[in-house]
Symmetry: C2
Subunit: 430 residues, 2 copies
């Protein structure tokens, strides 16, 4: 029975009505939590999905309206719309129309926020309503509320994270089982950690959208995800973990953004990290976010980055936050003063270069000559025994230099006739 029709409720305030649009894994988990909560501070009134008849669940109270018609939701008395469709179309249009109609929106849609977050926040402000997106990065790890509320008194200088659970599952499986990339991917797909087409995960599209949202919330920077370089993890091989181990490192997909003056250095891609570091220790599909502040120093957040229930926790937490504000006047708009920095991937780091070569005399001399001509200093040369002479992996590590210094040398080296594959080039993060 709804609180507002409960004769015993006296002058209790009518709880905000919530319409759920998109009833997949996360949508079902959100509905479940809302139905199980006893505090009645939120009332689920609509569930909207295509072919909604197939979606009906017996545990949803009978007074919830099931519909496949967006317009009826927009015309309803629901004050809060939860957008869990994902992707840009039709989610973007729906969210804009909801905000213009004065409805607050809670969304888990990383692509939408990464691309249109600043303007949608402005639209929400203009219409006296709220837009929250805590579930769009790191699922159940409350890093966005922490950035926007708990750390807003600091000035953050940089953010780095393991933001994609699929990549972390695959890389940590290669690390522990020394299986080939393709086998680890198949395993991740079999366990439901990776989709059939996992390109968005593997090639960094997912992580850079999340990095762009972290930059918005934590660095007050408007960064289009396309401007962030993303390197794929497909080129990482089991043998790279052997070489990384010799350097007391392992390999993780790291997303990082750091202000260097007015420029925002940002990129996503496989990187060497110390095996004993917080990043090196993140196993399975967990997420870790590390913030670095002028006053508060480093803070780390670790937890489940995906999955229906953890993501639903972020959505319901946002719903409660919005509900507490909804009976009040809108909160004072924070002076956002978003910067629109130049984005560059020209980080200065030491580097790990892995070559596959057809063995012949003079290989190291040829490579060393190219490196020397580009003023790049070799730190170590590593070669593991036991490989066939026709396809031999070996590694050169370089002393710190900028990405832009290294790039021309890599092109020349990869073109050498004894190189059977392009050189794999990974930053070493200490």
């Amino acid at each position: 029975m709804a609180t507002d029709s409960d004769p015993t409720s006296g002058n209790r305030i009518r709880p905000p009505h919530v319409a759920l649009v998109g009833f997949g894994t996360v949508g079902r988990a959100v509905a479940k939590i809302l139905c199980e909560r006893k505090d009645r501070s939120l009332r689920l009134t609509h569930i909207c999905n295509r072919h909604v008849e197939r979606k009906k669940q017996s545990w949803v109270p009978s007074d919830v309206l099931w519909t496949d018609d967006f317009d009826s939701v927009l015309d309803s008395d629901a004050e809060i719309l939860v957008e869990l469709i994902g992707g840009l179309h039709p989610a973007e249009d729906l969210v804009r129309r909801a905000l213009k109609a004065g409805k607050s929106v809670v969304t888990a849609n990383k692509q939408l926020i990464a691309r249109h977050g600043p303007e949608l926040l402005q639209l929400a402000g203009e219409n006296g309503c709220q837009l929250e997106f805590g579930a769009s990065v790191a699922g159940g790890v409350p890093v966005l509320p922490a950035l926007r509320i708990g750390l807003c008194g600091d000035q953050l200088r940089g953010i780095a994270g393991i933001l994609n659970g699929t990549c972390n599952y695959i890389l940590s499986r290669i690390e522990t089982a020394r299986i080939p990339f393709s086998e680890a991917l198949e395993e991740a797909q079999a366990r439901g950690y990776a989709e059939a087409d996992a390109s968005e995960d593997l090639d960094g599209g997912d992580a850079r959208a999340k990095l762009s949202i972290l930059a918005l919330a934590g660095l007050q920077a408007r960064v289009s995800p396309e401007t962030i370089r993303a390197r794929t993890i497909r080129t990482v091989d089991a043998v790279d973990f052997d070489y990384a181990a010799e350097l007391e490192c392992t390999i993780r997909q790291i997303s990082r953004a750091d202000f260097l003056g007015e420029t925002l250095l940002a990129e996503v891609g496989p990187s060497l990290v110390p095996a004993a570091s917080p990043f090196g220790r993140v196993q399975r599909n967990l997420n870790l976010v590390l913030t670095s502040g002028k006053y508060g120093g480093d803070v780390a957040f670790l937890g489940a980055g995906a999955g229906g229930d953890p993501t639903a926790v972020a959505v319901v937490s946002d719903l409660m936050f919005v509900a507490e504000n909804i009976s009040a006047q809108p909160r004072a708009q924070r002076d956002q003063r978003l910067a629109s920095p130049k984005v560059s991937c020209d980080f200065e780091t030491p580097w790990y270069l892995r070559f596959w070569v057809k063995d012949q005399p003079g290989i190291i001399a040829s490579l060393a000559a190219i490196l020397s001509a580009h003023q790049l200093n070799i730190d170590s040369v590593l070669q593991k025994p036991g490989f066939d002479k026709s396809a031999l992996p070996f590694v050169i590590t370089l002393e710190p230099c900028r990405d832009s210094q290294l790039h021309p040398a890599i092109e020349k080296m990869s073109a050498l006739e004894f190189c059977t594959k392009p050189c794999l080039c990974l930053p070493i993060l200490r």
Copy 2:
């Protein structure tokens, strides 16, 4: 120049006025951040401290009023009072009077919130103002905002943490340098990590106040700190780290609270934790908090738990949160429904028992007979060589049992004539 007297500011809203009471390390750091911020969303108007003349700083703008008179602050137009006096008197009276006068309060005062948090929150609600205390636990680690906002959609089952940086500094120093407790304490005092009288830290008073605040914010439980058992770390010896290492463990002061039905199991004290676990890896004076949720699983928060600047970040973040609400009507009061659970320390765990004995035949037989009579199962007996026969440390570990089962056996064993000190009894947390 203040924004509200700035002729160019047009119809800009007057920023909330902030009065700082208590100008020690944290107070200075808060003032510094407020003076360095450029967004003008907060205006520091008063600094109040005893003997305030000695406290004046040249970098504080000249329009800030320095005073040693609480009453003038309470009578002023400051909408937000920052209480950084610490302790109960006169802080409690000041905070109550401020809330009754309709001023919002931001405080870092763990003793005040641990003892009077629920009633002060109610008082704030009744007077249409806000009370925030994000700095009272774990300093710069935004665990309280995360609990109250980012994880409020979950149902937390338990919270555990390393909440006292002094104890963690001392224990991790004994671990790495194998120095005696007294030497590690002196070192911590020399470095400013421990006060001259460090009893509150060492004996667990500080940590249990923080645990009681975490239980309030995360478990919706009203728990008086005195009801939480606190064991001292003074009895932990360097040799305990040798034995712990044999068990692949180390020793940390752990504060933990878990619901078991309607009872809240809670305690603070030195505990064995796996060396490779998140707790085991926390070095120096860092804080770590681990929450365990019904839906979102485990989430970890790591960072600087104390120090002027990190604590000031928490204070300023709270100030910004309060400021954003202050021009609005008060936020809807959350239906708090605080439980007032029975508090018990009767955790069921495996145990580490360390004895100092005068060597003689039959020691293990005597101890084993007592354990057996109490139906306690021995898991292992460890004895390191190289000690004098007149003062020999050795260790018995027990299979899981409740604290209440173990306690009578410990009393009997400690009374045996060959025991030269009371038995040290630590839970082993896996």
